[in-house]
Symmetry: C2
């Protein structure tokens, strides 16, 4: 902070994680760098993977806020301070877990979506929604991590989470565009949308790289956002049990899934 602070001159970052070249690849498989990286780098990678693994276990059992670096270190048989050689801070660990969760969700949803025939628009939407729900119910803490209230005093660095976070939205956009191609987008009146207001809402969001290739107009996007919001709201409400005790969660989700579907796909004519 103080530019005249002399004490920090010779210790730029005393003993902080050196971020060696054995970098933490985001997720999509180990990077095929055939570089025979030495024992040291190899060990570092292994330890970092272990930390992430144990942290995920703790996350699954105790939740995000109860995540303790000391506990992770203990489980790994290292001294509490030792873990700071590998993880800069608790927030850093959280960030990595968040990115991990985003990827996990995106790949799960994508797999379910891609298993459906391309022409079956409703089927694709339902697969997407159901995959989202079951993923969230299976690992509620991961879901809470990315779609729950943000951890206080911690803001996920957007530049690191953005790619993973928009992956599932990108999938949604392609589906939406296919619906448009099939001429089955519901008329704006269906949701009572006003075109001018929709244009104002999304602004030049349509210029985002996610939409290159898609020819959606503002109203269609607004419909898509409504459908997604309803879907996510349904899952959120079930995972966090915001509605109190519900007789049959699966059936209720079916209803909400149908409702969200009707926001973006109008019934086939035949």
């Amino acid at each position: 902070m103080d530019p005249l602070d002399a004490t920090s001159a010779d210790t730029p970052s005393a003993g902080r994680p050196p971020r060696s070249r054995g970098a933490t690849a985001p997720d999509p498989g180990p990077d095929a760098s055939a570089e025979p990286l030495g024992k040291r780098a190899r060990n570092r990678q292994a330890v970092e993977a272990d930390i992430l693994r144990v942290a995920r276990e703790h996350l699954a059992t105790d939740g995000a806020a109860a995540l303790s670096l000391r506990a992770v270190a203990r489980d790994l048989g290292m001294v509490s301070s030792g873990i700071y050689r590998y993880v800069e801070s608790r927030d850093e660990l959280l960030t990595r877990l968040i990115i991990d969760s985003y990827w996990s969700l995106a790949t799960t949803v994508r797999a379910a979506h891609d298993a459906v025939a391309r022409e079956d628009l409703e089927g694709r939407w339902d697969a997407l929604g159901r995959a989202l729900r079951s993923w969230a119910l299976e690992q509620p803490h991961d879901f809470a991590l990315i779609y729950g209230s943000p951890v206080p005093d911690y803001a996920a660095p957007a530049e690191r989470t953005e790619e993973a976070g928009t992956a599932v939205l990108a999938l949604l956009v392609t589906l939406l565009d296919d619906v448009r191609k099939a001429g089955r987008l519901p008329p704006p009146e269906h949701l009572g949308l006003v075109d001018a207001r929709a244009r104002q809402a999304v602004g030049d969001l349509l210029e985002a790289p996610m939409f290159t290739g898609a020819r959606l107009d503002a109203t269609s996007l607004a419909q898509g956002i409504a459908a997604w919001t309803l879907l996510l709201g349904a899952v959120t409400s079930e995972v966090f049990s915001q509605l109190g005790p519900v007789p049959d969660g699966a059936a209720l989700f079916d209803c909400l899934l149908a409702a969200s579907r009707s926001c973006v796909i109008s019934p086939a004519r035949d």
Copy 2:
């Protein structure tokens, strides 16, 4: 733990909050007990109110997870252990804050709703939605407290939060019933709902006390839940900025509000 431990024999619960008769009235005004309660009770009420006030301030600035009993005590000029005379635990304080927030939301929304003419169904829905949104945006931490991810290792005692938590839902039910009376509930096909599935989803939820007086069927209730889920999802997504940077949040909310409205109110015929 040790049943033979003699030291704990004479101190069953040494110095725990005695929950004296100067009880913590939920919210709706101070109970008009003209009892001239002595200095002690008066002081206790004042201190409890102070604690809640300061806790709300901390909540607003630092969030729920950062809420610290010690810090609250410090701000009140009392010794850290002293606060346990008034609050049983951190969880207890959280519970009180949650109930408080529920009531705050419910009264705010109700006021906005009641300011609209009874026949103006769309206006009532919009007022309800807009009040929810502005309340949430003004006090995001309170919103997160009740509609965000649950605080870990803490489960709100349902029997204490239920009344406050369902207050706004009850308001929604009365509106829904008025829509039914006006014959303006959208047909189930509008949302692609299947009646049998809806009945399965809500089960005998319609027997709940909330619905006494209302003559809603399962499908209508499912429509209402869809609308509410969309509305809550819209607010959640904006407060937690789940969609990334949005050009015009208010306009987008307008669109989603319209969409949710179309789930429960079909356009007037005239």
